[in-house]
Amino acid sequence: MEQRLSPGVTPASRWHAGRVLSLLAIALGLLAAFALLSGPYPLTPRDYLDAFGGQAPPRVESVIWQIRLPRIVAALMVGGALAAAGAAYQMLFRNPLVSPDILGVSAGAGLGAVTGIYLSLPVAAIQGMAFAGGIAAVTAVVLIAKSVERGDPTLVLVLSGVVLGALAGAATSLLKVLADPYDQLPAITFWLLGSLAAITPEDVLPVLPGVFLGLMPLFLLRWRVNLLTLGDEEALALGVNAPRLRLVIIVAATLVTAAVVAIAGVVGWVGLVVPHIARMLVGPSFGIVLPVSVLLGAGYLLLVDTLARTLTGAEIPLGILTAVIGAPFFIWLLARGRRGWS
């Protein structure tokens, strides 16, 4: 087997990483062009030129600005954000099998959104409750883990996340039992499977700053994050304040995840599978895994969402498609050998 190049270390490997990044950026551009032109209402490049010039017919204008573009932007953002959070958590927990849900952010956001639907709140309020629920769940997990002073801190965090996730799941199930089966229950089910079908420009704009604020520290601390994979003691002996760095990364990844889950619902698999592919392409160093994951995740979710809205007349929930594509791919990864982690 060919020896993997070490990204960022030698000129050859930096060139390799740069080539992977440019190829991914080009692929993402082509995919976006394909997504812009596909859909039940056919649009041509000419329509886009007209719309940007403000000369398109009102119907075309409205499809572009109110439906197609917001949805494509949302897919790119949700996919990139989930992949970035997953990549960060896999470093943090020193485990390649970790997804952004590990500390209960999705379970908490799910409970928040389901509560909002159950109370028949408006869409914006449901999104707000989902965001708050995700943040609250992770805050509770971190506080529980902090109050337990014994044991390996990351293990305690993971176990607290499992416990709180189960509790939020139970509360969500209770609300499903109590919900109106004709009106609320389908909405709840659809939300819990994830979808971008009802995205409007008003949904996308408030989420952008949250995603940006969360990605910023991940990007700025990208080299130091590698040292967390050595374990706390070694990281401390190398001068890194591991507990504080871990907290900053958790806050950043949670912000990013909660922000996108609030508008997209629970979209599984992206945060688990995409960082794996990134490490297969460029090796494990977070400085290069992070941007590669963002590009791959954005492209993957854009592809899946474009399939979701074009394959059949009815919308297929995203969570179903990402699982149907992600699960066999993951099995293939396992069977192929454990490249990308040891």
Partner: protein
């Protein structure tokens, strides 16, 4: 650069692992820490590195109590060489060595060409230059241990704390390791590094002509030159098996257990 333990008591919470520990280490010194399993060597190392607080007494680094120094300030002076381990992700060797630069880089810093050159130099000093691009997780235990020493060199600290560096090494690699440790401390062309290492093999202390700190039952029972500290009586008592100290034909001292196995 000196590291000193002053009337140190070590342990966790109320559980005292050892007390009355006094010793000091400067550039060019080699201190071998010997003692049976569970005598508190690892706890002492964690205390010396400031990872856990001393129960009483203090650890003093260049005149300043270690509790007053920040993590990066400590890491710029003392490098820690853990027992070789396999990380969860397959970093290239040079990347592992580059992590030694962390205490010199700011919070948002990235290693640049200068740090890369220093990391390569650290690998080459230990004769490991050819490993730079290899996958650290696929190296042998002995090579991984040497890479961790290269990482400590890249840290550019004046003192090194090594936790049983010989533990996972074969016979030949142990000899090579001791040679490197002696070089680090006594290389006439460079400023000597002070090394404190724990070991389970008393012969290491003799071959390094190191200062020996012998620990047993929660305290230092003897400290000084190997010939004074490592007597057959003491070793027999603390390890609980009959030990003889003999002199080989070439004049070297060795320890042998004289237990009969039938």
């Amino acid at each position: 650069m000196t590291l000193a333990a002053r009337d140190l008591a070590i342990g966790y919470g109320r559980h005292v692992v050892g007390e009355g520990i006094d010793f000091s280490l400067g550039g060019g010194d080699i201190v071998c820490l010997l003692g049976p399993n569970g005598c508190g060597k690892t706890t002492l190392f964690k205390t010396l590195l400031g990872l856990i607080p001393a129960l009483s007494g203090e650890v003093v680094l260049d005149g300043a109590p270690i509790t007053r120094l920040g993590r990066a300030a400590i890491a710029r002076r003392i490098a820690y060489v853990p027992q070789s381990h396999v990380p969860p992700f397959p970093y290239p060797v040079l990347e592992v060595v580059l992590m030694g630069c962390a205490p010199r880089l700011g919070l948002l810093g990235q290693p640049g060409q200068k740090e890369r050159d220093e990391a390569v130099a650290a690998l080459e000093r230990l004769g490991l230059g050819h490993l730079a691009e290899q996958d650290y997780s696929r190296l042998s235990g002995g090579q991984r241990q040497m890479v961790l020493i290269a990482r400590a060199l890249a840290q550019q600290a004046d003192l090194m704390v090594m936790d049983e560096p010989g533990a996972s090494l074969d016979f030949g690699n142990q000899a090579r390791l001791l040679q490197e440790v002696a070089h680090l401390a006594r290389d006439a062309a460079r400023r000597g590094i002070g090394v404190v290492m724990s070991t389970h093999n008393p012969d290491h202390a003799w071959s390094l002509d190191a200062k020996v700190v012998l620990m047993h039952d929660g305290g230092v029972i003897a400290a000084g030159a190997p010939t004074e500290v490592l007597t057959a009586e003491r070793l027999t008592r603390i390890y609980g098996v009959p030990v003889a100290v003999e002199t080989t034909g070439s004049g070297r001292r060795v320890c042998i257990t004289s237990a009969a196995f039938g």
